[in-house]
C-alpha cells in the first residue's frame, strides 16, 4: 500500500552517531523501521546503541547489510558529499533531512542524478522525510499522527504536512505514503515526481499536494494532473500574504522581485487542473473529502 518505502525497506543512517541522527533513529526504530546499519566514517565496527552496526562507508552498508535506502543527518557542509556517496553505492532511495545545504552543491548533485544513468531517487534536502504508515518511517515526522490507508500526501513543508495528516487521521482516513520533498530551491524529487508516483500507485486512491510560494514546481505538477491524473486531488499553497523578494524561512520560499512564484498563480494552476483547493490550512483534509469519500 505504498510507494518508495514499505516493510521490506532496509535503512542505512548516514550520520547515525551524531545527536540528531541518534535521536531520530531511535524514533524510527521504535516505529518499526528496519534500520540495518549506520555510517560514520572512522567509527566502523562499533555498534550504535548496542544494536545497529556502524560502517565506515555506505558501500559497506550495502554489501554487508543489504541496505536499500539511506537517510542523511550530516551537517550542511558535508551533506552533498554524503548524497553523492550514497549514489555511488547505488542505493535506490536517498532521503536528505539536512537543512542549509549550499545551493551550488545541490546543482552539482542534481547533475549527477540526472545525467549519469543514476538508479537513485533523492528526496530532500531540507525535508521531514517519507513514511508509509504502519510499515516504515524514515525521517523526523511524528509517527503516531499517521494511520495506514489510501491517501497519498506530498508537501514542501513539514508541519503543514503534519496538519494535513492529523486532519485525515482524525476523520478516519489513513495514508498510503506521505512524502516531504523539502523547502529548498533545488531538490531531488519534485511535486510532479511525487504526484506521478502516487497516481501510478494502485494502493493510493486520492492525493493531497501542499505547496509554497516560489519556483514553479506546483504549476508543473498541476499541468500533469490536468492531463493524466484521474484520482481526486486536493491542494493548499502557503505564503499568499508573503512580501516580494523575501525568503520566508525555507530557502525556496520566495516570490521573486519580478513577481514570479506567487500563491495566487499556484492556486490558479490548481483550479485549472481541477484540484480541490483549501483556502486555509485547517481545511486541507476537508477539501479532499469534498471530492473523495474513501
Amino acid at each position: 500500500m505504498s510507494i518508495l518505502v514499505n516493510k521490506d525497506t532496509r535503512l542505512v543512517v548516514q550520520g547515525i552517531t551524531g545527536k540528531t541522527g541518534t535521536f531520530h533513529t531511535q524514533q524510527c526504530v521504535e516505529y518499526g523501521t528496519n534500520v540495518v546499519a549506520g555510517v560514520t566514517p572512522g567509527k566502523g565496527g562499533q555498534m550504535w546503541e548496542g544494536k545497529v552496526p556502524v560502517c565506515n562507508t555506505v558501500a559497506e552498508a550495502v554489501k554487508e547489510y543489504g541496505a536499500n535506502a539511506s537517510v542523511i543527518y550530516v551537517p550542511p557542509a558535508f551533506a552533498a558529499d554524503s548524497i553523492l556517496e550514497a549514489i555511488e553505492a547505488e542505493i535506490p532511495l536517498v532521503i536528505c533531512i539536512t537543512e542549509g545545504v549550499p545551493v551550488r552543491d545541490m546543482a552539482e548533485v542534481r547533475r549527477r542524478l540526472y545525467f549519469h544513468n543514476t538508479k537513485t531517487r533523492l528526496i530532500g534536502p531540507n525535508c521531514p522525510g517519507i513514511i508509509t504508515p504502519g510499515e516504515c518511517k524514515i525521517g523526523i515526522m511524528p509517527g503516531y499522527i499517521h494511520k495506514p490507508g489510501r491517501v497519498g500526501v506530498v508537501s514542501r513543508s513539514g508541519t503543514l504536512t503534519y496538519e494535513a495528516v492529523w486532519q485525515l487521521t482524525q476523520r478516519g482516513h489513513g495514508q498510503s505514503t506521505c512524502i516531504g520533498i523539502g523547502g529548498d530551491p533545488i531538490n531531488g524529487t519534485s511535486q510532479l515526481d511525487a504526484v506521478r508516483m502516487l497516481n501510478e500507485d494502485p494502493d493510493t486512491d486520492a492525493i493531497i499536494m501542499i505547496g509554497e510560494i516560489g519556483g514553479s514546481a506546483e504549476e508543473e505538477a498541476c499541468a500533469y494532473i490536468k492531463e493524466h491524473v484521474t484520482k481526486p486531488v486536493a491542494g493548499f499553497i502557503a505564503g499568499a500574504s508573503a512580501p516580494k523578494g523575501r525568503t520566508m524561512g525555507h530557502a525556496g520560499a520566495i516570490v521573486s522581485a519580478s513577481g514570479a512564484g506567487t500563491a495566487e498563480a499556484k492556486f490558479a494552476a490548481m483550479e485549472d487542473a481541477g484540484v480541490s483547493i483549501a483556502r486555509n490550512p485547517s481545511e486541507i483534509a476537508d477539501a479532499l473529502l469534498k471530492i473523495y469519500k474513501g
Binding site: Q27, P76, A77, G100, V101, P102, V103, R104, D105, M106, A107, E108, R110, R111, I140, M141, P142, Y144, I145, S155, R156, S157, G158, T159, L160, Y162, E163, W166, G183, P185, I186, I210, E212, I213, G215, S216, F236, A238, G239, A240, S241, A242, P243, R246, T247, M248, G249, H250, A251, G252, A253, A257, S258, A263, R279, N280, P281, S282
Partner: protein
Amino acid sequence: MNIHEYQAKRLLQEYGVPVPRGYAAQTSLEVDTAISHLSDDEMIVVKAQIHAGGRGKGTFTDGYKGGVKVVKGREAAKEAANHMLDNTLVTAQTGPEGRKVQTLYLTEGCDIEHEYYLAIVLDRETAQSVIIASTEGGMDIEEVAEKTPEKLIRVPVSPTMGLRHHQCRQVAFALGFKGDQIKQFARILTGVYKMFWEKNAMLVEINPLVTDKAGNLIALDAKVSFDGNAIFQHPEIQQLRDLNEEDPKEIEASKHNLAYIALDGNIACMVNGAGLAMATMDIIQSFGGSPANFLDVGGGANEDQVTAAFKIILSDPNVKGILVNIFGGIMKCDVIANGIVAAAKNVDITVPLVVRLEGTNVEAGKKILRESGVALTPADSLVQAAEIIVEQVKANS
C-alpha cells in the same frame, strides 16, 4: 546575503572586470579624501550605498532629489555628498520609510557610448546557472523581459562543465560586439562566472555594462547576492555584511536561531515550521488582520527560544496582539505549553495573546495553558484562533 555596489565592484575588480576608479566614504572627512583622488576637471559620480535599487530616481526625505549624481568637479561633488550622507533615501524598493545612507561611493565619470545588461543567476528549475544579457542596459530587466523578450539572451551554463569559450563568443556576438570588444567581453564574462561560482553567488548583475567613447567595456553598476547557506565557507564575504541594512529584530532573531522577518502589520505570530508560519500569516490576513512578522521557532521550540521570540516580537511597537500556533509532533503539546507559560511569565506581555495547539497530548497542553494564570486565550482551531486575535486587536484599536 546582499552587499553594496562598492563592495561588489571591488570583488569584480579582483576577478579582472574593469570598473571606474572609485572610493567609498562614510564620513565627511572620508568624502574629502575620496574627492582629492578624483580630478577637479572631470565629471565625478556620487552614489548613495544602500541595499535597494532605484537610487537614481529616489528622493531624500528632506526633498533632495537623486541618490546618484553626476557632477563636474570637486566642489559640486562635495556638495552632493554632504546632501546625501546620513540623509534618508526613499526609492521604489525601500518602502516609504526609506533607508539611511551611511556610505557613499565616489567614482570617476564615464563617457557612455552604449549601455548593456549582463547577469548570471542560478535557475532553480533547471538547477544550473544562466547567463542573461541584453543590448537594452541601464533599465529594469524585468521590463525588457516583458516588453521585448526577443532582446533577452539566455545561455545556460552546466555546473559540471563550467563556462566555455564558445559560450562567451555566442553572447558577445549576440550583443553586437566587434574586434577587440569580443576579447574584452569574454574576459569580463569569464571573470563574472568565476566569481559567481567560487563565491557561491545566487546573482551577479552588471547593469549597465557600458562601452565608452574609446570602445572599452566597463562595469558601471553592480549587484551581487550570495547563498546564505554557503556563507560559512566564505569568511571574506561574511565580513561584507552591513548590519545597518538589516532590521535589528532580524539580527537578534538570527542569534537565537529563529527565522524571523519583520512585516508592517500589527498581529505578531509565533509558529513552528516555515510552511505553517506562512499559512498562519495568510489566515490572519484572510480574516482582515495584518501580520507583523514571519516567525518560525523550529521543530524544537524550547523555553529559551520561545522567551527570546516573545521579546523580539514585543520589541516591535506596532504589535497589538500575538498568535501562537504550534503543531506538537515529536515535541509534545504539553511540553510546548509549559515552555509558552514559562516564557510568558518571564516576559511582560501587555497585548492579547491567543494560543492554538494541535497534535500530540493536545488536551494536556490546553489544560496547562488554562490553569497557568497567564492572561491568554487558548483556541480550539486555527480558524478560531485567527478570528479571536483579529477581533481582539480591532476592539483595542
